[in-house]
């Protein structure tokens, strides 16, 4: 590179790896420098662990052992997690884009990183990664907490039983999938209340609607929603009418993937 070229651009062109790290560092610095993000994660953790303990206590103190062997015992671990972790983390993910759009900060972001898909990818990596970490930690805490309380009644399951570790790991991923779906909807809708409503509708609303459908339709449509797919995976045992675990996992991956693609399509074509 000759001297005039350097002066024109002002600097050497960094490699793709360095640029990717720039975007990740950008989004990570933004995520970690807002206190409400920590508060949200703390609320999610406290609410999840607390509700899990209550649910486990209730189940453990029920006199009749539920039929079905290990399945209820494992699913019990995630009843609290599925709501009290997913809702706050989804709201946090929505805010990653909507807070920038409502304050106008998004224009600074797009001026700093004009390739908008890179901004989306950076936010998805950082928020999704954080959600995955929080999700895995909470999933294992919920699992051990519940099983510790159930094992006193000899109804617990061990992490070393077949199907169990995969289920617990997948439970952590559920949080990441929900967060990425919510993040994308935030990028598409831009307004905080609308995005939160849309995210909760996508995550819970559709499944709740499927639950009230007559029986063949209930499973036929319901198995493509995230809660049904998550239930199949978390049960660690094939459920009648639902997709097998591998396909259910694809459903859990497909929702955030489709939402991210839609968000990438929209934000690269729209005026900021």
């Amino acid at each position: 590179m000759t001297a005039p070229q350097i002066a024109t651009t002002g600097l050497a062109v960094p490699s793709r790896l360095v640029r990717a790290r720039d975007v990740l560092a950008f989004e990570w610095t933004k995520l970690r420098s807002v206190r409400s993000n920590y508060v949200t994660a703390l609320i999610a953790a406290v609410a999840t662990i607390g509700s899990t303990a209550v649910i486990a206590h209730t189940v453990a103190s029920t006199p009749a052992p539920p039929p079905g062997g290990t399945i209820p015992a494992l699913t019990t671990s995630f009843l609290g997690y599925a709501e009290y972790a997913v809702i706050p983390v989804s709201v946090l993910a929505v805010l990653q884009f909507t807070s920038e759009y409502t304050t106008g900060l998004i224009r600074i972001t797009f001026c700093a990183v004009p390739r908008r898909w890179a901004v989306l990818a950076g936010k998805a990596a950082v928020t999704g990664g954080a959600a995955l970490l929080v999700g895995e930690v909470l999933a294992f805490i919920c699992f051990f907490l519940t099983q510790a309380m159930l094992s006193g009644r000899h109804r617990g399951v061990s992490l070393f039983q077949p199907g169990v570790p995969g289920s617990v790991l997948a439970a952590g991923f559920v949080l990441c999938a929900c967060a990425l779906t919510a993040l994308s909807l935030g990028a598409i809708i831009r307004h905080t209340p609308g995005s939160i409503t849309a995210s909760l509708a996508a995550i819970y609303g559709l499944a709740a609607f499927c639950l009230v459908l007559p029986s063949p339709w209930k499973e036929d449509f319901g198995r493509f929603t995230m809660p049904f797919a998550a239930y199949e995976i978390l049960a660690a045992h094939p459920q009648p009418g639902l997709l097998p675990a591998g396909l259910s996992m694809l459903v859990l991956i497909g929702w955030p993937a489709a939402a991210l693609l839609a968000a990438a399509f929209v934000i690269t074509r729209r005026d900021a």
């Binding site: 350097i6 960094p14 640029r19 920038e100 700093a112 990183v113 077949p162 660690a236 005026d271």
Partner: protein
Amino acid sequence: MAIAVLGAAVAFVAWCLVDLARAGQVRYLPKWAWGVVICVSVPWGGLVYLILGKARPAATAPWEAPVAEEAGLGPSGPLFGRHVPVSPAVIEVDRLTKRFGPVTAVDALSFTVRPGRVTGFLGPNGAGKTTTMRLILGLDAPTSGRALIGGRGYQEIIRPLHVVGSLLDATAVHGGRTAWFHLLSIARSNGIGRRRVVQVLEATGLAAVAGRRVREFSLGMKQRLGIAAALLADPAVLIFDEPVNGLDAAGVRWIRQLFKSMAAEGRTVLVSSHLMSEIALTADHLVIIGRGRLLADTPTGRFVSGTHRDVLVRSPRAGELAGLLTARGAVVRPEGDGGLAVTGVDAPAIGDLAAGHGIAVHELVPRHGSLEQAYLDITGDSTDYRAGTRTPEGTAAS
């Protein structure tokens, strides 16, 4: 130790993943299979660790090292002046048009902003200044035409903050973030070091409040923060939209000096305003638009002298003098306080005329139109026109 922990973590995750793939099956992997998984995972974990370790070898992470230094532009010493513009970073706006539905915000606008001078970008409210700046910065897509910076579209520039620093809206910040983290995040996005963040905080007088959250800032402090962000990478092109809003008198003087010194260093400085009085003392060149169209693209000095001249005359026999002047082809407009505003005849001719007829003249002042007056004259039509019908193009677009 770290390798062992990482390897164990990878092995555990691999175990869980294999289990997930087998979920629902009755048979279980034999014990020796786990031995294989762990034996394979641990070296891989070590390899990943080594690669990650290699990727950031020194004590300074990549974003810590200013790239300008690598490019041989010298160490980061003084705040400004590291940039040595050899090739001019010109902003070229070429037949730029932006329509929002039926409204034409920017209408076939063409002008060039050159380095080494402060260019004032003027127009009444709603003239399309902000839209033009957003088009230059690649935030909005133009309906037609293009805007180039140093021959490139903004979106083609890699690490653009090193080339263009901009401030569009000082209030567009996340209130929950401190000034330090606001600037640090922007700095990291373009590989700018922490030292530079400290420098711009000191230069803009925000060092003492760097740890405070932005929502506690006044508008003037937010303006300074926005200017600090624009200066982060020491860019050759600076674009400011209404930067004086909210600044106190000292701040206004500071920012004027800043613009002038930036231009003197050979940078391209584009500053918008809707008030001529804010710009008149700073700008060397004026680009004036109204209703999205170019009204004037001229050096500031020529803009003043080119318009609106008259001569103020006071005389005890004003009525008689007015008659004589009118007879000579001058246009005489009586002012409220008894003076006469005369156009068409210059001051010496008026004096001679009065002397020839023995009329005493108490005051004879040639007046140049003020910048403010010239600006109001040129934008008056476009402002009035706004309330009326739309342009034919605008109607066609709907």
